[in-house]
Amino acid sequence: MFPFLRKRMISSAIPLFCVVLGVFFLARMTGNPVDLYLPLSATAEQRAEFSAAQGFDLSIPAQLWNYLVDAAHLDFGTSLRTGQPATEMVLDAFPVTLQLAGMTMLLAITGAVVVGSLAAYRPNSPVDRIASLLSMTAASIPDFWFAIMGVLVFGVSLGWLPTSGTLGGPEIWVLPIATLLIRPFGVLVQVVRGSMVTALSAPYVKIARSKGATPQRVIFGHALRNAVTPVLTVAGDLAVGLVNGAVIVETIFGWPGIGKLMIDSILQRDFAVLQAAVLLTAVTIFALNILVDVCHALADPRVRQAVPA
């Protein structure tokens, strides 16, 4: 396992460097932020001064060099918008999104495994049809629409949940997580169902049944672990996609997470924060990919065996 991890980390280094570069150019593409930060009537001198202070007057290669040197020291500069260190802002926002995404994936996977397995156990039964239809619908509902509906229905009309915000008890998690959840859940139910159907029709399942195993034992003891590989892959990709969802959810519910931070820093041309945020996200995504591979290996001995090769 460890040589495998080491190899994966080394092979992530170059792509990560590409991300570092990409983020830099992505940020520069948004143009000079001078208009946003200076008074409307700022003079040419003031503009030049501002640019110089922020290092925007240097040539792009020079800016890139400075950025790389600083990044190597894990210094991502200071936010133009708030004057705080970018790293600090990003690290403040990151756990919020991580928890949101983590809870979402956990619930999505658990829920999808249960629902998908139930559906797969009796294909084309009413349970299966309802589960399939609901999951397909869930996967195709625009998330912002769902969020606003949730606020209006559960927040205002029924009054069960707070409308938004991060101040309060566990109930504040419900709507944001539900919003983030619908699509991954919908997709995963279908994936779990599909691969469970395949697994449940496999001969080893027949053999297990011939040993007198109960349906629970058949599903969870035999089929599930065989069905888990595609589920893991898809779950990994969905988790990556949660960054997109987080942008919407955090915007609507006013959560100070990294998605909101990124969109704000784009809109505010806050390069330092944007760079730090995207880079941290990218590192997380790489780590996630490695985690998915590790899970693959844990779930399937054949993969495990192939790893050292």
Binding site: S11, V23, S140, I141, N244, M262, I266
Partner: protein, 336 residues
Amino acid sequence: MSREDPTTADDTDDTGPGADRPTADRPPAARATPHRASWWRMLGRDRAASVAAVVLTLVTLVALFGRLVIGDRAQRQDLDASLRPPSVGDGVYGLLGTDVLGRSVLARLVDAAATTLSVAVPAVLCSLVIGAALGLWAGYHGGRRESVALRVADVILSFPSLLIAVVVLYVFSPSALNIVLILAVARIPVYLRTARAEAAELRSRLFVDAARTFGTPSRDIIRRHILPIALPTLLTVATLDFCFVMLTESSLSFLGIGIQPPDVSWGLMVAQGRQYLQSAWWITVLPGLAIVFTTVSATVLAAWARIATDPAQRWRLTLPTKRRGASAAVPPELIP
């Protein structure tokens, strides 16, 4: 690899596939004709799939010819007729009510169908073609080419696609073409990975080896031997990607940088109508339903087509739905 092993069907159920199964004395060519004929029959047997096919056909027809029928009705504003609820009294165009600018929601739905599809279809096709080509090439050759392609996919995946879209669409103008390009690039890794996995598995198969020993150029091997096998999976992923593309386009509209007026897409309608959710539900709910119906239909049909194109499973489709056994609604390869 999750495709059902053909042997599974054989040793558990040796009469199952019944008439459709190739037998030794029937040449494969002879099988083609009855199959084509039975496609319709198979579709007809599956109520869900036939409904889905009807919905998709309808959507396509509306997208292709709808504009000819409605003319400029989708753009025609009448500020005095703002926010009329659906009613039968206001003629055809008032059937689904009007939006805040007094435009017919029905006409806009029709107009938006064309725009929505003209974004979703090219975006999906671009990413499918590029991603599949790269993935098959990488997977077939393996080695360094494979790892380079995979790392490229890693890099693309690790940029949050919505944010790239925001940057690009704000910096270059938010045109439909740019949206298509962004979505296409963002989805390339998915096809790349899927195609690579298929090709990597197939490259060691006997028939590929055989082709190689005959000196067939690798381009031809990929095209003739690997692509046809990988295609059903790729097409399924592509079908399901429509959903993603439509939703992302909608999210972009929510952020204000999707399709720009006077063009209109379902996503834009949902996004713009969200503020009228309490007062005029029809503006946002109807296009939302259009998205849901279209994507659910695409998903159902994709699942059906996947089984229909898999010789080991096709027979299941010919059964009445109640006793259809292991028909995967969505293939495990689905990567949304």
